[in-house]
Amino acid sequence: MLLEATQVAIERGDRRLLSGVDLSVTAGEIWQLVGANGVGKTSLLRGLAGVARLGVTGEIRHATAVLYMGHASALKLGLSAVDNLRWHPAGDVTTSAGQICEALSAVNLAGYEYRPVGALSAGQQRRVALARLLLSDAPLWLLDEPFTALDVAGCEWLEACVRGHVNGGGATVFTSHQPSRFGALQQDLDLGQYAV
């Protein structure tokens, strides 16, 4: 069991968005959080990750380390891609420049390693952020709208990346407006049923 959430409720201010959400994620699973705009997909994902705590009630337990990617890419525009990826809040992961360059060429950014991230396009910046997936050893990925700003090739790469991660004993929970990217491999959690 990588993530166990029971009876989670999400509040924003005085308003309750979701209540009674149950979700348990085991190795090899892909979960997509589904629901209309404003239902609370991002809020729930932030709550599951532990980024937000206020207004999140219920029990959320992670068995393992978590990699969370939000709407914002957490990149410093003045720094190069390599410098950006060298820093990781989990701290204990030590990555060499070789590993980072390898990851960057995997996301098709060979040749951009030492340019300031601010000089790259939105899609390229997103790819730099996604290269973190290759450098992390966290078994549980929580990805908020990971397919935004990516071109077709990028989307395909990300799909393959998530598949590989899951086959290797990891698990992924993500939000997206596009339905069923992973076909039979994925399970949907429809948040509409928990909306208040």
Binding site: R46, A49, G50, V51, A52, R53, L54, G55, V66, Y68, G70, H71, A72, S73, A74, L75, K76, L77, G78, L79, H88, P89, A90, G91, D92
Partner: protein
């Protein structure tokens, strides 16, 4: 904080505003000298206020703060690290160059060293309080003016201790006791304020 402009801007601000005072008050050296301790300290306070407003803004906007919140160490520790780096690039440098501006305003030589030391200690408090203000207002649109309202009253003791120390030094009194008070304040702030900053950052992430 990587660009040279971020480091240079507060110093430049300090310089520009210091220039305004003789223009506004007249060039009489004796009068400038009596006002110098207060002027130097107030301008340092404003410079620190100006830069601290943006302390956590970029981390918040680009999502780095979310990642820091997931780090295995508490946010207060992260905050202390970030504030220390920020202080080295702003308050520390400001204190180092302050004797030059002191000379420009005709501050007697006896006061220059005390000015430097008082600003070294005082900017620690100013930066920490400014960081708290930034953490509290980072998720608020038009937080700039609000920030001044939040942190200026909290900075009153620092200003009083700092200017009094410099004044005492100029008058040949006893600046050490005031510097000691300032040091105590700095030490206390280093211990207490990061906890508040951590809590404030949590609130900003949650709202």
């Amino acid at each position: 904080m990587t660009s040279p402009a971020d480091v240079a801007n507060p110093l430049l601000f300090f310089f520009m505003v210091i220039t305004l005072f003789p223009l506004g008050l007249g060039p009489d050296p004796a009068r400038l000298a009596t006002l110098a301790p207060g002027v130097l300290w107030v301008v340092a306070l404003l410079a620190s206020l100006m830069v601290s407003a943006k302390l956590f803004a970029s981390d918040f906007e680009d999502g780095s703060l979310e990642q820091l919140a997931l780090a295995p160490y508490p946010l207060a520790v992260t905050a202390l690290a970030e504030v220390s780096a920020h202080w080295l690039a702003t308050g520390f440098l400001l204190a180092l160059v302050s004797p030059i501006f002191g000379v420009m305003l005709g501050l007697p030589e006896e006061g220059l060293l005390t000015l430097l030391v008082s600003l070294l200690l005082g900017t620690v408090c100013l930066t920490l309080i400014g960081a708290l203000g930034s953490a509290l207002t980072v998720n608020i649109r038009r937080g700039g003016l609000l920030l001044s309202l939040l942190i200026i009253p909290l900075n009153v003791p620092v200003l009083i201790f700092g200017t009094t120390a410099v004044r005492e030094a100029v008058l040949g009194g006893n600046p050490e006791s005031w510097l000691a008070l300032l040091g105590g304040l700095a030490l206390g702030s280093v211990v207490v304020v990061p906890l508040a900053i951590g809590a404030a950052l949590r609130v900003s992430l949650d709202s």
